[in-house]
């Protein structure tokens, strides 16, 4: 009998101790929260602190990302984020803080990503996010240089006899739930009068099962995603083909909160540096030797090398709020745009295509802004 009483009292004591520990920990994040409330600027009319300053003070960039986007951001078995988007988070950290490792990756669900940006729990969103008018406007986000131009397509079995989207009259098209994909597919079907039955699934693996079982005629998603899925298809890559039509534009771009120009500028130039570096032919491997030997004044400016002028030697500081060697740190620690692309997207079987840089005769989508004094 007594035992129960003693047990009870223990539990009560344990409860108190644990409650104490909970309260103790609750006070820790409060320090960071105060910073973001200020940085948010929406609470009062007082002096606004740019995120650029609070990020430098905190020493880490909080990057909104994801842990399950093949090629763009996945968690490897050691718990590290790897992928195209994850590397652009590191690009921003390398440019602003000089350390590509100074990133807090915050995993966000599709539905939470803008809330996280608005309530200040992340500094920047690099999460396979399509730049749309509503998001730019109503979601109070500022989109910057797109890092990847994607578009939605349809994948079918090679032996299905479909050669273009317009062949697929009355087909069953399978998509993932909760993205723009679902709506786009329905829209395309009604535009072409194809009477598709659009079936939505929660998980990519479930679509795969349905597709293998012949329950779907077509599989619609962003071409980048389809390419990755195709390369891993159990029956071999050639058992599937991606139809040539791409029926939506998906410029995937990093986003920051509206009303913080200094921070937006910093993120913008971090991303642009990767494209400019590819144009200059600078890679993480050769940037050190080129930096010390080059006589090209453009590259010298870009890498923050001292340049002899009539007034003596000086380093170009364009006044972006970034260290003068930001581009060097980006290229050295993460790499140029092409390197990042080849590291994560080429293995999935993606071609550079529209994502070639402008100077390579690609589209004018990935172009750079001159870095002149």
């Amino acid at each position: 009998m007594k035992k129960e009483l003693t047990l009870l009292s223990t539990l009560a004591v344990a409860a108190l101790v644990l409650a104490g520990c909970a309260a103790d920990d609750g006070s820790q994040p409060s320090a960071t929260t105060t910073v973001t409330v200020q940085a948010d600027g929406s609470t009062d009319g007082g002096a606004q602190v740019s995120l650029l300053e609070s990020v430098k003070a905190a020493g880490t960039v909080r990057c909104g990302t994801r842990d399950a986007l093949p090629g763009f951001a996945v968690l490897d078995s050691s718990g590290e984020h790897v992928g195209f988007d994850s590397d652009f988070c590191r690009v921003i950290a390398a440019a602003v803080l000089g350390d590509a490792g100074a990133v807090d990756m915050v995993d966000l669900e599709t539905s939470d990503r803008f809330t996280a940006l608005q309530n200040g729990s992340i500094d920047v969103l690099v999460r396979n996010t399509t730049w749309t008018a509503t998001r730019d406007g109503a979601e109070a986000s500022t989109f910057l240089q797109p890092t990847f131009y994607d578009g939605q397509g349809v994948m079918v079995a090679t032996n299905s006899g479909y050669n273009s989207v317009s062949d697929m009259n009355g087909a069953i098209v399978c998509v993932a739930k909760g993205t723009t994909t679902e709506g786009n597919a329905a829209q395309e079907s009604s535009r072409l009068g194809l009477n598709w039955e659009v079936r939505a699934f929660d998980e990519v693996d479930l679509i795969l099962e349905a597709f293998l079982a012949g329950q779907c005629d077509g599989w619609s998603s962003d071409v980048s995603q389809l390419t990755g899925l195709r390369s891993a298809y159990p029956d071999g890559t050639n058992a599937l083909k991606i139809l040539p039509e791409v029926f939506s534009k998906e410029p995937l771009a990093p986003a920051v909160l509206d009303g913080d120009t200094a921070w937006a500028t910093a993120v913008q130039w971090a991303v642009l540096a990767t494209i400019q570096a590819e144009e200059f032919g600078l890679t993480s491997a050769n940037v050190d030797s080129i930096r010390s030997s080059t006589t090209d004044i453009g590259i010298q400016r870009f890498l923050g090398v001292e340049i002899e002028t009539s007034d003596g030697s000086a380093v170009l500081d364009p006044g972006l709020g970034l260290p003068t060697d930001f581009a060097y740190q980006v290229v050295k620690q993460v790499g140029n745009y092409g390197e990042i692309f080849e590291r994560h997207l080429t293995p999935l079987g993606l071609e550079r295509g529209v994502n070639s840089i402008w100077s390579d005769g690609g589209s004018a989508l990935l172009t750079t802004i001159p870095l002149n004094p």
């Binding site: 003693t6 223990t10 968690l75 718990g79």
Partner: protein
């Protein structure tokens, strides 16, 4: 044997047909399962991501802290269990005892071996050994509490915190050394469940007593609380905790998702527990309470000496059932609060380059299910044993 078969399975023509049909289906299912587990199943995804499954993104260099916490928790549990009074069952001989232990803990042991094999590291074997030592030490300490005359005299209010201190201290130390955001995997499911179980127990008791209180205000508050919480889906409460808690507390205090989860699970389970305990209390004949009153005992004494001990004993199965359900419900927190719990890990890792789009979600989720099943099954079995020892249903 043949006689047994005839008598039980082939007694009449219809019996024979049923046996053959359902036996065939059963065998087919068994064959499919064995084929999947040993032949077609591709378990590399579990092997490679074992650390993510167990502790998420917890820093490698602090892993020893988790191991040490587990040893301390094992010590604590073993000390509490070892200190329980002798049952009525006859003392077993050594051989019988070993059989008994294998039956009780063989499954946990098999899981430990499986994890060691999957982890491919000697360190994990070392930790399993240390866990064993922790259990043994806890048992010795528990036995001392039961048998040693001097230690017996220590009041429970000193003794119980003493044996819990290493575990609580280590968990808090781990919390201070690492950021909570990096905790993940089965670890947070386990901790959330453990802490919620510990916290909800006293709350549930108070609510049960409060609902039977003769003070109308207390009775009303407790009843309202219980009915309100029991009327809402757990998932909704979790979602609310993730979003709506901000409305009630100052914005500068933003508790971590793990604490939100623990809060909801504690409040939720306490309401259910209160009803379970109340059921037990109602089974106590009112004559006992009246007898207590006639002796001049206070309400606190009547409850703590007469009614609660009997009530709690009689509702052990329902209580453990509630705790097992709480343990499994922690996976809901992964979705509702965006925690990196074991279920989330199971889904996320199928997107890794090596495993993408190969339908490996089955392997991954089956492993998650296995982890929960082993722990829940052992909990359930131990509760049955406790019931037997305390003589529920006999007395």
């Amino acid at each position: 044997m043949i006689l047994w078969l005839r008598r039980n399975l082939f007694r009449s023509i219809w019996d024979s047909i049923t046996t053959i049909v359902f036996g065939g289906i059963a065998l087919w299912f068994i064959w499919i399962s064995i084929e999947f587990v040993f032949i077609t199943g591709r378990w590399e995804i579990v092997e490679v991501n074992l650390k993510l499954f167990l502790v998420g993104r917890f820093p490698e260099e602090l892993m020893w802290l988790i191991g040490a916490s587990m040893v301390a928790i094992a010590f604590w549990v073993a000390a509490v269990a070892g200190g329980s009074p002798l049952g009525t069952e006859p003392r077993l001989r050594l051989a019988e005892r070993i059989v008994d232990y294998v039956r009780r803990f063989g499954l946990i042991f098999a899981l430990a071996i499986l994890l060691v094999v999957l982890s491919n590291s000697l360190d994990s074997l070392l930790w399993v050994g240390l866990l064993g030592i922790g259990v043994f030490a806890g048992r010795v300490v528990g036995r001392m509490r039961r048998d040693n005359k001097i230690i017996q005299k220590l009041p429970g209010i000193i003794w119980q915190p003493m044996i819990a201190t290493p575990a609580i201290a280590l968990v808090i130390f781990t919390l201070l050394e690492s950021t909570l955001e990096l905790w993940g995997g089965f670890l947070i499911n386990f901790y959330m469940a453990l802490i919620s179980i510990i916290l909800c127990f006293p709350l549930g008791l108070l609510l049960a007593l409060g609902r039977r209180s003769s003070f109308p205000v207390i009775r009303f508050i407790c009843t309202a609380y219980i009915e309100l919480i029991r009327g809402a889906p757990l998932f909704v409460l979790l979602l609310l905790a993730g979003v709506a808690l901000e409305f009630f507390i100052p914005p500068t205090i933003s508790p971590d998702a793990v604490f939100r989860g623990i809060t909801v699970f504690t409040l939720f389970t306490a309401a259910y527990l209160a009803e379970i305990v109340r059921g037990g209390l109602q089974g106590i004949p009112s004559g006992q309470i009246e007898a207590g009153k006639a002796l001049g005992l206070s309400t606190v004494k009547i409850n703590s000496l007469i009614t609660l001990p009997q009530a709690l004993r009689s509702v052990i199965p329902a209580q453990i059932g509630q705790f097992i359900s709480l343990f499994k419900d922690t996976t809901l927190a992964g979705v509702a609060l965006n925690l990196f719990d074991v279920m989330t890990v199971g889904k996320v890792i199928t997107k890794q380059d090596d495993f993408l789009g190969q339908g490996l979600i089955y392997e991954s989720l089956i492993f998650v299910g296995l982890l929960f099943w082993v722990v829940s099954y052992v909990m359930s079995k131990e509760s049955q044993r406790l019931e037997k020892r305390l003589g529920v249903g006999i007395r």
